[in-house]
Amino acid sequence: MTVNTTGSAVDGRHFDVIIVGSGWAGSLLARHLGRQNWRVLVLEAGNGGTDTWEGFQDTVRTFSAAVVKASNAAYRTSAAAPFPDVLDLRSTGPSSYTTSGHFEQTGPFPYAGDYLRALGGTGMHWFGAVPRMFPEDFATRTNFGYGADWPVTAMDLERHVREAELLIGTAGDGAEQHRLGVVADPEYQYPMEEIPPSYLDARFHRLLDGRSVTDKIAESAYTLQVYGLPQARNSTPNPAWDDGSGNPYRPRGAVGMPNFGERCVGNASCTPICPVQAKSHPLRLQQDFTDSVRLATRCVVSRVLPGRGGTVRGVEFREYGDPATPSSRPYTVEADIVVLAAHSIENAVLLLASGMANSSGNVGRHLMDHPTLLAWAEMPANDPVGAFRGPGHTSGLECFRTGQGRRKRAPFRIEISNWGWGWSTGAPLSSVARMLGLGGDANGEVRHGGYFGPKLRRDLGQQVNRQIQLQIAMEQHAERNNRVTIDPARYRDGMGNPRPIIHYDLDHRVKDGLYAAREVSKAIFKLLNATDHTNLGVQDDGSHPLGYFTHTPGGDLPPQDLGYRGPGHAAGTHIMGTRKSTSVVDADQRTHDHPNLYAVGCGSMPSIGTSNPTLTMAALALRSAERIHRDLAELHQPVTVATSHLAGKRAAE
């Protein structure tokens, strides 16, 4: 049961822990610490209300009314706590773009992802993919000579990854994930059986398994194998799952409506919103909050307050009443420990605005995403696969994610999209317009011809049912110059808080990876006997897609039109490490500079491999929760304070 409070009610009060942000990381931490009876205050900048049935239905209606079902389509814009939208970006030429909205962008390429400031954070619109990282992903510097190594290994995180998989509520095939090499235990059981693979997945299995594709960039042949994707989506409880209590696993459904949403029913709209809430979201965890946890929405933290001796004292925040206007009142609240869990980019902005944790100069640096190449094709007429059914993707091709090929190009994961050409072209709406000839030609004149009536209905149905798409996500490694900065003198939001300024670029490894991915997609389409319709270059109307470039990895390889989309897996803005000079936080996500300030989330990750980062982030949050509990326990034992590592650290400074 979530106990809500307001900014004015907590003004001037003291808590054991303040958590900034109510997304996955913040909710996991608050739940964990609340159960240990620590007094926790969660401050959420965005709007609430979705924790009730009516409130959630309102977001579903907002989604329905949106013309473009982009990832933030279910949430109204906010003047008080603004957030970026993928629709903020526009291409203005072959290698130029403009942006409006929350971000300023200065890089040669746009950072093309978004996030959400609302109760539950970006965990409300995430897709729900929870693949584990490969053990080799944690040490790319050592293994392959690029990027940054983690101060922990996959084994160190294993226990917390398991706990995260349970708390998030994961459906997957443990044996298959063991064969893939991400789960060490061959007997591992997920709490729910895997989400049934789509019919399209079955076709891919049939046509691709065991076939070989040569990657000319990696100079290596790969044997294709389709693997299921572990997902945070309600499926059949796994009878083999056992937590020692003897109780079977019960899927958790909708908040505010008992016994609802305990199975995925195939709404096929995971991102932006699962109408039945079978896709897990942080509000589920918030239902578990004990009475010692207080949660306040519409409270935008503007600054972390410095305390004595390198510690922090609390936070300053502004509470607003109406998301449409930024009028607000300032308050302060204090705590023994402050945790920033506000999203990697917002965490960086907060640390920079507070002038904290930045002795390494690395706050905001090493911004990463998974630049994603889209390739789309049409299956043969006699092999319709039925697009736009089921979760967005239920299987993938994993062989390009690992191995020595990583020395030559960025590794990538191929998602098999169940939603046709939705992401790449805006199908099926765009398919209707194209078949009609709607919208005029490049000169704005009415097009000739076009299909109508029974022929339109028939041809459209046939065409859409044959649409397939590969979403190929590159690993992007940590680079100092991909960064978030602020310039409060020039760029502030309506409330007066600094807006993120982003400088983003793709290095040659990523470009080589995108090149290889495009080549691989061509080979796969050939094996499927599908007709490639991918057009990453000049469009019919003469425009260039966002993120367009041409590239050749060298040698005798011809230049190729390439492009990418941003799935918004922002990471790396306060990376963890053992050395204070090169990293911002330690292996427990505690800032090196301030013993009682934590920065948690994907921002702490020194590399993100080719796995959607939420699961790893959640595991890190659980790890931090244990450490924070220890810190607090020590702080609350006056006799031993002098010997505690906190006090020791303070004394050293």
């Binding site: 949106a66 199975r263 039925g386 059914r389 709406l429 005029g440 076009g450 109508f452 149905g461």
Partner: protein
Amino acid sequence: MTDGTNAGAAAPNADTHLEAPSAPLERFVRLCVPLTGFSAFDLHGTGMAPLYLDTTRRELGEGHLENFLSRWEQAQAEGKGPAELPPTEREIARALVYLWYTGAWPRIAPAVHAELRRDRPNGESMASATSYPEGLVWRAFGGHPGGAKPPGFGTWSYPPPTLPTEAEIAESITQSAATATRPYDPTAYGALANLLDEESVPPHLLPGACVTRSVPPSAVPCAAPPPETGSGSPAKDVSER
């Protein structure tokens, strides 16, 4: 928008407007049938017909709408298809189909937008939050709108449904038009019910008493034990249906 210059075009049909309140809507739907490839039954069945007529009226203005409808009526009388309409009407026809297929009024060709002198920006907008789930495009490929009308757990593992051919679609529209003019006749349904009198379904194919909700349908016993093999043809007939 009521455009003064086109008010005269609407006047000749004023009588038909008076005949019945639903006449303009009936006409609008009837004229949309050959454009969309869905029967009047289907179009009315979306529940969106009045909204779409209003939306079109608002987007085009009463005069332009009337102009389009009468020209399209005339073209049909001359045996022409929508693709043979003059450019402006052709683009309006496309916009209408797009509205029915997606629930949204589209961005139309800038040339037509300028010619119509519309008083609103030329952009795409959803007719309403309820129109999106009623888009016909989803039905065209045998699917369901993303985020609405979910088909159930695991349905995505099955092959997609077979779609009707163009001839079958045309045939179903003709049939629907024929039955739609017939008034509702309860005896027709009575006659249908007579086909399945109580005796025609043998008890072993009917479910028995369902004691509690915790009994899954698969575990509900039959009303009677199955007969011995070859016991009678009526049972076989029904099971084959």
